[in-house]
Symmetry: C2
Subunit: 558 residues, 2 copies
C-alpha cells in the first residue's frame, strides 16, 4: 500500500480523506516496525504522528520532538508536515472540514472510541466511515508467553481477577473488556517476548462478574486464547458490558452497541505496587545500581575513542550479568556533548559520536528484571567539564533534590508538584521542555499511568502511596551539552503520616565533578551526602577492589 493508491481509492469513493494513526489494536502501547503503517507509507520513524491523506494531498502531524526528523525522513513534495505545536489535529480538522459533505475514512481497529467521539464532536456535520476491511495491524511474528511468578507479583492472577469481578458487579455490569495490554498482563500475571523493551503480553481479556474470563490474543503460544474476530460473536452475549474507551478500538462498539465507557480500574490497581513488588523493585534497583556503577567505573578508564553505541552496548553487557535480567526497558540514550542536548537522542548506529575528554555523556537507560523495572539517567563528566556545565548540573541537582525531598498532601496530582522541581532553574531564567516525572511499571511498561509529574498534565491522577515515579529534571543547551539527573522513587507516608513523600529506589552515584558545592544549601548537601552514603553501603559488597575504591571516592561526602 502506498499513498498514491490510497488517494486513488479515496477519489473513486468520493471521500474527503483518511486518518492513519501510529498504532495497532493495542492503542497507546508500543508497536513493532512491521505494525507501523505511517512508517510504511511515509518513511517517518518517530514514535508519534498522525497522517491524514486526501485525494490530492497528504499531511503528517508531528510534535516538536520530530519536526526536524520528519523533514529528513519523508518526501515533503508528497506529504506536508503540520506542526502540532502550532495546531492540534482536531482544530486542524475543524478549520478545514466544516462542510456537510465531509466523509472521512478510518480503521476502526486502531482508532479508540474516545478519539472517534472527539472527531465526531469536532466535526458534527461530517460522516466518519470505517474502512471496508478493518485490520488490527498486528505483527505476524509469533510471541512466547510466560507466567510472571507469584514470588515476584505477590498476588495470584485469580485474586486480581476476583478483585476486578467484584468491581464489575458493583458497577452493575455483566462483564468488562480489558483492552490495555499492560493491564491484561498485570491481571493475568502473564508476560511475553513480543516487544523489545516491554515484556507485556499483548492480549485482551474479557472478565465476567462471576470471575470467569476469556483471553483474546493472536500470534502467541498462549492457550487457551481466542482470535480477536471472536469478539464479534462473544460480546453480543452480554447485556451490560464496560470497556475503557481510551484504549478500546472503535470497532468494539459495533459488537457491543450498549458498551459503557468505564475507566479501567486495573490501571490504578497496577500502579499501586504491593509490598512484594516494592521489595522486588528495591532488589532490582540494587542489581541495576551494581551494573551501572561497574559500567561508570569502566567508562572512567576506557571512554576515550569509544562511540556512543559502543558504550551503550557495554552497559548492556553489565546489566546482562545481573540475575533475573530480561531486557533493556527502553533504547539507551547515550548522548555525548552536543548530542546530550537532544532530549530524545538515539545514536545513529553507523555515525555514532566518539567520546572525548572535557565534555559530558548523558546516559539514560534502564532494565527489565523479573522483580522490577528500572530507569535512570546520569550525566557523567569526561575529563574536565566547563564551569557552565558544572553550574547547570548543580541547578538540575537542586531541582532534583527539591522534588525528591518534597512533602505533599493525599490527592496531590503531578502538575501540582512539577513547579517545585523547576524553581531553581526558573529563578535563573532556565527551563526544560519535558515532564518532570512519569509512572513506572513493574516488569512492564517503563512509562505507566495514571499519574505523571508534568505542568501539561493538568488533570492527571493523584500520586498515591505505593506508586513508583521518576524524577528527572534537566537542562539542554543546544549544540553544546545536556544535563539530566533521573532517579526512581516510590510514594510513601511522610514522617507525619497524614502526608506523603518519596523514597528513593535508584542506587547510582551522582557525578560530583559536575557539582559546585557553593551553590548548594546545607540541606541540599545533607541530602546528597546521605544519598551517596546509602548508595555506597548498598553497593559495596558487590564490587571488585578497584571498583570499590572508585565508589568510595564517588560517594565521599561533599
Amino acid at each position: 500500500m502506498d499513498i498514491k493508491s490510497i488517494q486513488k481509492e479515496l477519489k473513486t469513493a468520493k471521500l474527503t480523506g483518511e486518518i492513519f494513526t501510529l498504532g495497532n489494536l493495542f492503542i497507546g502501547e508500543d508497536i513493532l516496525p512491521d505494525e507501523n503503517i505511517i512508517l510504511s507509507l511515509t518513511g517517518f520513524s518517530g514514535s508519534y504522528a498522525i497522517l491524514f491523506v486526501t485525494p490530492s494531498k497528504s499531511f503528517l502531524f508531528v510534535d516538536g520532538r520530530y519536526e526536524l526528523q520528519a523533514k529528513k525522513e519523508i518526501n515533503t513534495r508528497q506529504t506536508e508536515i503540520v506542526k502540532l505545536s502550532e495546531i492540534s489535529f482536531l482544530n486542524w480538522l475543524k478549520k478545514n472540514y466544516t462542510a456537510t459533505n465531509t466523509k472521512i475514512r478510518y480503521n476502526p481497529w486502531v482508532i479508540s472510541l474516545q478519539d472517534l467521539k472527539r472527531y465526531e464532536r469536532a466535526l458534527p456535520k461530517a460522516e466518519f466511515i470505517p474502512i471496508s476491511a478493518p485490520n488490527f495491524l498486528l505483527s505476524k511474528k509469533k510471541a512466547k508467553v510466560f507466567p510472571h511468578q507469584k514470588k515476584f507479583t505477590g498476588q495470584t492472577a485469580k485474586d486480581k481477577i476476583n478483585g476486578l469481578a467484584r468491581h464489575i458487579k458493583q458497577l452493575g455490569l455483566d462483564a468488562f473488556l480489558v483492552t490495555s495490554a499492560a493491564n491484561t498482563s498485570w491481571l493475568l500475571n502473564l508476560r511475553s517476548n513480543a516487544l523489545p523493551y516491554s515484556p507485556i503480553f499483548r492480549a485482551y481479556v474479557l472478565v465476567e462478574k462471576n470471575g470467569n474470563y476469556k483471553i483474546f490474543a493472536e500470534n502467541t503460544d498462549q492457550t487457551p486464547s481466542l482470535p480477536f474476530k471472536d469478539l464479534a460473536k462473544i460480546l453480543p452475549q452480554y447485556k451490560n458490558i464496560g470497556a475503557d474507551f481510551d484504549t478500546t478500538p472503535a470497532i468494539i462498539e459495533n459488537y457491543a452497541p450498549t458498551l459503557k465507557h468505564t475507566p479501567d480500574n486495573t490501571t490504578l490497581a497496577k500502579a499501586i505496587k504491593n509490598t512484594t513488588e516494592l521489595k522486588g523493585m528495591r532488589n532490582a534497583h540494587l542489581r541495576d545500581g551494581v551494573a551501572l556503577s561497574k559500567f561508570i567505573y569502566w567508562l572512567s578508564k576506557n571512554y576515550k575513542d569509544k562511540t556512543e553505541t559502543e558504550v551503550a552496548e557495554k552497559l548492556l553487557s553489565f546489566r546482562k550479568k545481573e540475575p533475573d535480567f530480561f531486557s533493556e526497558s527502553f533504547a539507551t540514550i547515550a548522548g555525548f556533548g552536543k548530542n546530550a542536548a537532544i532530549v530524545h537522542y538515539h545514536a545513529p548506529e553507523k555515525k555514532s559520536a566518539v567520546l572525548k575528554k572535557n565534555s559530558v555523556l548523558l546516559l539514560d537507560s534502564g532494565g527489565q528484571y523479573f522483580d522490577g523495572t528500572t530507569d535512570v539517567t546520569r550525566t557523567i563528566a569526561l575529563g574536565t567539564p566547563s564551569s557552565d556545565m558544572i553550574e547547570k548540573n548543580t541547578l538540575v541537582l537542586k531541582a532534583h533534590i527539591a522534588l525528591a525531598s518534597a512533602v505533599f498532601h493525599q490527592a496531590t496530582s503531578g502538575n501540582e508538584l512539577d513547579l517545585i522541581a523547576r524553581q531553581p532553574l526558573l529563578k535563573q531564567g532556565l527551563d526544560y521542555e519535558h515532564g518532570t516525572g512519569h509512572g513506572v511499571g513493574f516488569f512492564s511498561d517503563v512509562h505507566e499511568g495514571p499519574a505523571r509529574i508534568s505542568i501539561h498534565a493538568k488533570h492527571s491522577a493523584p500520586l498515591e502511596k505505593g506508586m513508583v515515579t521518576s524524577i528527572e529534571p534537566g537542562y539542554y543547551k543546544e549544540n553544546a551539552f545536556g544535563i539530566r539527573i533521573e532517579n526512581l522513587y516510590y510514594v510513601k507516608p511522610a514522617k507525619n503520616p497524614k502526608f506523603l513523600t518519596f523514597e528513593v529506589l535508584t542506587l547510582v552515584p551522582i557525578d560530583k565533578k559536575l557539582i559546585n558545592k557553593y551553590l548548594l544549601t546545607p540541606d541540599e548537601i545533607t541530602w546528597l551526602n546521605r544519598y551517596h552514603r546509602q548508595v555506597f553501603l548498598s553497593l559495596k559488597k558487590y564490587l571488585t577492589k578497584q571498583e570499590l575504591s572508585w565508589l568510595k571516592d564517588a560517594c565521599a561526602p561533599l
Copy 2:
C-alpha cells in the same frame, strides 16, 4: 416568617422541603444583616450556610469554620446541624430524596441557575418548584452611588462597555446580562456605600452588542436605573442573550428562555489591573503601610491592658488619617494569644481579650482606598515570645518567601503554586487549613476571582500578568497561638520575560523578634533584608522622629 410557619405551608402544599441560601439576588457577594434569611430564621450569623426545611424537620449545613458557632447560635432542638466536612449538600439531597414524588421549593431570585441545574442533575426524579412570590431579598436601606474617577480607573466606562460589546458580537449574541455586582461596578466605574467593607454598586447591567446598556438597581440614588421587575419585559426583546449562570438567579431563565450560559469575561478583564490601577495600588499600599507601621509603633508602646477591639479601633483611626481612605476592606481580625489560633476570629465586642506581654497579636486588616484595596496580616510579638512561637513564625516566613520569590510559566494556576509555599511547613509535619492566596479587587471586593492559590481550587483560573493576589501562609496551634504573614503581590514578567513572578505591594515590617535567623537560608535572609530596605526607604519620609527610629530598627538587616 419563622421555621414553623414555613413547615405549615410545606405540609399544606404537600412539598418535601424548601432550600434557603445565605444571599440575595447578587449571588456570591456580601450581604447586609437584614438580607440574611438564614440569620432571621435560625439565628446563625456565619458567612456561609444552607438551610433545608421539611414539614417536620430542618437542617443547617455548615462548614468546619462554623460547626461550633452554629451549635451556640441556633436552637438545635428545632434545627439539626449537618457538617459539610462530612457530606456535601448535594450528596445529602441525593442520599435522602431519591423518590419520584419529591417536590422541593426554592426562591428563584437567590439560587443561581448553575446551582439549580446541579440540584436537578443530583435528583433527576424530583420536581423543583419556585416559591409563589419570588423575592430578591434586597435591603431597603438606600445606598449612595458615586463615580470611580478615571484618574483612578485608567479607563472610561465607555471603553470598558465597548470592549464587552465587541466580545458580545464575537460570541454571536445580541446582549449580555452582567449579574455580578463587582463586575457591574468595574464596567460602569460606579461604586456605592451599600456594604460596610466593599464599595461595590449593587446592580445588574444589560449590555447590547452595539454598546447601549441599561442599569437595573433598587434602593439606590442611581439615575437612570430600572427596577429588577422590568427584566421580565425587557429580556424577551432579545433573541440571543447570554449571562454567567454562576451568578445569575434561576428566575432570569423564565424571562429569557433561550438564555445561554456565557462565562462573564468582565471577571478576567477586571482581575487584570491596568498600569493606572497598579500605580494606584502601589500608592494605596504606601499610605496603608504608613498607617499600619505607625500603628505597630504605637502598639509597641501601648499594648498593655488594651483589648483586641480597642487596638482594631486604633488601627482604623490611623488608616482614616490617610488620603483617599474610604473604609476598611473587611472586619479586622485582631487575635491575641490563643485567639490568634482561630483562623476567622472576630473579637466579641464585649468580651474582647486583653493584650498582655510574652505572646503574639495576629492582625489581619485592610483598607479600601479610591486608588486601591489592601489586605495585610502581621503577627506581632508582645514582650518576649516563646521559642516555639519564633520557630513556627520562621517556618511561616520561609513559606511566604518560597512563594513570593517563585518563578512560573504562563498559564500556571494557583493549585500548581500552593505546595511551593507549604514545603517548609509540610517538611516539619505541619500545615495550615486555609488557602495560600486570593485575588484582590481594585477599590472593590477584597476577595476577587477568577484566580486563587489553593490546593482545593483544582480548576482555578491561571495567574496572569497584572493580577493582584495575596500570599498568606500560616500556622495555628490550638489554645496556644497563631501565626500568619500576608502581603499582596502583583504578577509581572520575570527577568526572563517568558516566565512570570510576583512583585510586592505591601510595605509593612515583618516582626524580627519572631525570626530565628539560623533557620533561614542565605537566599531567604537576602529576601527579607531587601524587603525591609524597600519598606524603610518607602515609608521613612512619612513618619515622626520616634516612629522613624523604631522603623530603622524594625527594618535593619538580619
